[in-house]
């Protein structure tokens, strides 16, 4: 198995940084948002209270103006001259009243003074407007009010103005009224004062809902009718399409409403600059945080990478490598434990190496002994056999005539036995040689090998009728020579054990049910009771005079298949035939 490489370490390094930066982003975002919200709410609240202050102060500013008129007017309304005039209008009383009104209308602000009848008709008009011959606008007052009343704004030749009306106290009569036409004080000083108060970009409206509106300088279109009545501060979009925060306040003693609207940019200027600063601080925090996280994570992962490198080195066989441990944290502890484990592994490995070496030596010694034994068997056992055979033959040939028949037959048996023993020795040597020979695995075509075995066996002169079926493309990863021995032995066996019947069938193929190759014949078969003896050397299930052989073939087959890590087994019954299965696994064990 391949040891894991460092790729995962890099991932961990960046994951740590990413997690910390992500955490920072969330924290910075939440704090910034909360701070911005608080600042904005504060700014809106501040704007609202400023609105109230503005309308209050503006009210007070105008109120003084009006109130002084009203006090004056109240005095004039109770003047006996006027009372006399309204009670009994005559040339004399009229003249006195005109004189009085003329004296009262000298102020710049007063454009005209009227005395009105209860039905609204004008009884007497005096003042600058009359002298200059300009028309006076109609004024409307709240009818149910009792006492001094103030009208909405109206347009005069010089500009905007308004009216103040007071009843003239004449007992027993319908009330006549005295009406002042007053110009709005639009001096640059007053405008500047108000402008200072509300701020340069803000809009000021003064007027009566449903009537004329002014910004103290000139007549302006009024606010949205819906917003005209007094009300608390709220956001809306004005006629220019800008979002503004506006509030209206009633002016005591008048039907007037003061309305101030601050542009959104003004109200939110402070929270927005705060937000900008917070954003910069956030970016800076993130950068510093990311740097710190990277340094920290690098320090951790570098040590882990180090550990991993040592583990990889050990995995690839360098058992002496150890981790350098510094510090007193968990990674140090891990390193110490790792080193302890590596010590054990190294020790175990060394022990194992020594054991393997000693066993290999023993095995080699045993192998050499076996080889010497085989060699000596090959030489020393065969030499006496050759003598037995040779001299028996010599006796038979040289003295055959003088020997009794039984002696000649006995000598024949001696020779046959010697020959047979020679074959046994040869087979035994073959068995031990195959067990020791080196294996060279390659792709082999079993079908091709089987076909060549069959071709060698086939002898037209024998007159046998044997049908051979070989499944094509039987491939395996095995030693070609050894597999040749296996197929040779199995097919020769099949050939041999079908020799006593007129027709026979031999099959070579792959059995999917067993996942094994097989060689099958319909010959003599064997008694399943003795199947366990089939693969043992020199074990035969048939008498020698029935089928010839040394009994070594299947032992060879078994040994070769086992060397390939495979299995071999047989199925069969007497007189029915035999099937030999074997497997040749691809992986070398």
């Amino acid at each position: 198995m391949q040891a894991p490489r460092f790729i995962k370490m890099h991932r961990l390094r960046w994951r740590l940084v990413a997690a910390f930066v992500g955490f920072l982003v969330v924290v910075v975002a939440v704090f910034s948002w909360a701070a911005y919200r608080a600042a904005r709410d504060g700014a809106v609240a501040a704007a609202s209270s400023r609105l109230e202050a503005v309308s209050g102060q503006l009210g007070a500013l105008l109120q003084g103006n009006i109130t002084s008129f009203m006090t004056n007017t109240a005095d004039v309304a109770n003047d006996p001259t006027l009372r006399a005039f309204v009670r009994a209008p005559s040339t004399a009383t009229r003249a006195s009243a005109e004189t009085l009104l003329d004296s009262l209308s000298t102020s710049d602000n007063v454009r005209a003074i009227e005395v009105r009848e209860p039905d609204g008709g004008v009884l007497l008009t005096r003042g600058r407007a009359v002298r200059e011959g300009s028309a006076l606008p109609a004024l409307t007052f709240e009818s149910d009010a009792n006492g001094p009343r103030v009208s909405g704004f109206a347009t005069y030749q010089e500009g905007l103005g308004f009216g103040v009306s007071l009843p003239i106290q004449a007992p027993g009569q319908e009330p006549y009224t005295l009406v002042y036409h007053v110009g709005l004080n639009t001096s640059p000083e007053a405008v500047a004062r108000v402008s200072d108060l509300i701020g340069g970009h803000s809009a000021l409206y003064l007027g009566v809902p449903g009537g004329l509106w002014t910004n103290l300088v000139r007549e302006v279109p009024g606010p949205d009718p819906e917003l005209a009545p007094p009300g608390p501060a709220r956001w809306h979009v004005n006629a220019d399409g800008e979002r503004v925060l506006g509030a209206g306040a009633p002016m005591t003693g008048t039907p007037w409403v003061v309305r101030v609207e601050f542009p959104e940019a003004d109200v939110l200027a402070t929270p927005r600059s705060l937000a900008t600063r917070l954003a910069w601080i956030g970016v800076l925090t993130l950068m510093v945080g990311a740097l710190l996280a990277w340094v920290f994570s690098h320090r951790i992962t570098r040590r882990l990478s180090n550990l991993s490198a040592v583990a990889t080195a050990i995995a690839s066989g360098d058992y002496r490598r150890r981790v350098v441990t510094r510090g007193d944290d968990e990674i140090t502890e891990l390193g110490l434990n790792f080193n302890a484990m590596a010590d054990k592994i190294e020790g175990a490995h060394e022990r194992l190496e020594r054991q393997v070496a000693s066993r290999t030596a023993k095995l080699e010694a045993a192998n050499q002994e076996l080889e010497a034994f085989s060699y000596s068997v090959s030489h020393d056992l065969r030499a006496p056999l050759r003598a037995i055979h040779g001299f028996s033959r010599a006796v038979a040939e040289n003295h055959g005539d003088s020997l009794p028949d039984s002696a000649a037959s006995d000598l024949q048996r001696v020779c046959a036995a010697a020959e047979r023993m020679g074959m046994l020795i040869d087979d035994l040597l073959e068995l031990s040689r195959l067990a020791r020979s080196e294996m060279h695995r390659q792709r082999v075509d079993l079908s091709e090998i089987a076909a060549s075995v069959v071709a060698d066996l086939h002898d037209p002169a024998s007159g046998r009728d044997v049908e051979v079926k070989i499944q094509p493309d039987l491939g395996a990863h095995a030693d070609r020579r050894l597999v040749g021995h296996v197929l040779g032995n199995l097919i020769e066996n099949a050939w041999k054990f079908t020799s006593k019947q007129a027709q026979s069938l031999i099959e070579v193929g792959w059995a999917p049910a067993h996942e094994a190759f097989f060689v099958r014949d319909d010959g003599a078969g064997f008694d399943p009771e003795y199947v366990h003896k089939l693969f043992q050397p020199f074990q035969r299930l048939h008498a020698a005079n029935e089928f010839e052989g040394t009994g070594i073939g299947l032992a060879l087959v078994s040994r070769i298949i086992h060397r390939h890590g495979g299995r071999v087994w047989a199925e069969g019954a007497e007189g029915v035939g035999a099937t030999f299965y074997f497997t040749l696994p691809d992986d070398v064990s």
Binding site: S374, Y375, H379, R382, P384, R386, G390, D426, R433
Partner: protein
């Protein structure tokens, strides 16, 4: 049978087993090979004969066998070493040496040829086969084959 094979050359038979000596002798005889047979019972004796030492010190060193039949498994000095010494010495380097042995080990065959054997013949158990093998060896090496010039006996 074939014609009488010329009895000119000496056959050196290096063989420790007296049975095999006898069987080889008989096989040669039965094949009408009448050459003189010198038997060496071990490797050391074979070398003594070839290099005229020990028991063979008085031998004419100019006369070398026409054929050496060499067993591999021998007492004292084994067959392979004998072969190597034969090939190492200028006087005997071109001697035809036939390895005649019981072994069929691949290693033995390879080492024999590696050391300069001219042929490798395995002794069969069956005497008829053995006799045939000896006949063919004798026919080829003593009759058919032209020996190297230096080995020819001076007239």
């Amino acid at each position: 049978m074939t014609a009488q094979i010329s009895g000119e050359g000496i056959i050196l038979l290096v063989e420790d087993n007296p049975d095999d000596q006898e069987l080889t002798r008989r096989a040669l005889e039965e094949n009408d090979i009448a050459n003189e047979i010198v038997v060496a019972h071990d490797g050391a004796e074979a070398l003594d004969y070839l290099f005229c030492k020990g028991r063979w010190a008085d031998r004419d060193p100019d006369i070398q066998p026409q054929l050496v039949l060499l067993d591999l498994k021998l007492p004292k000095v084994d067959g392979l070493e004998v072969l190597q010494r034969i090939r190492a010495d200028e006087r005997t380097a071109r001697l035809p040496v036939i390895v005649l042995t019981s072994s069929r080990e691949e290693g033995d065959v390879a080492e024999s040829y590696g050391s300069g054997a001219n042929s490798y013949v395995r002794k069969p158990v069956d005497f008829s086969e053995f006799r045939e093998a000896v006949r063919q060896v004798g026919l080829y090496w003593l009759l058919l084959n032209e020996p190297p010039p230096r080995l020819r006996r001076s007239p």
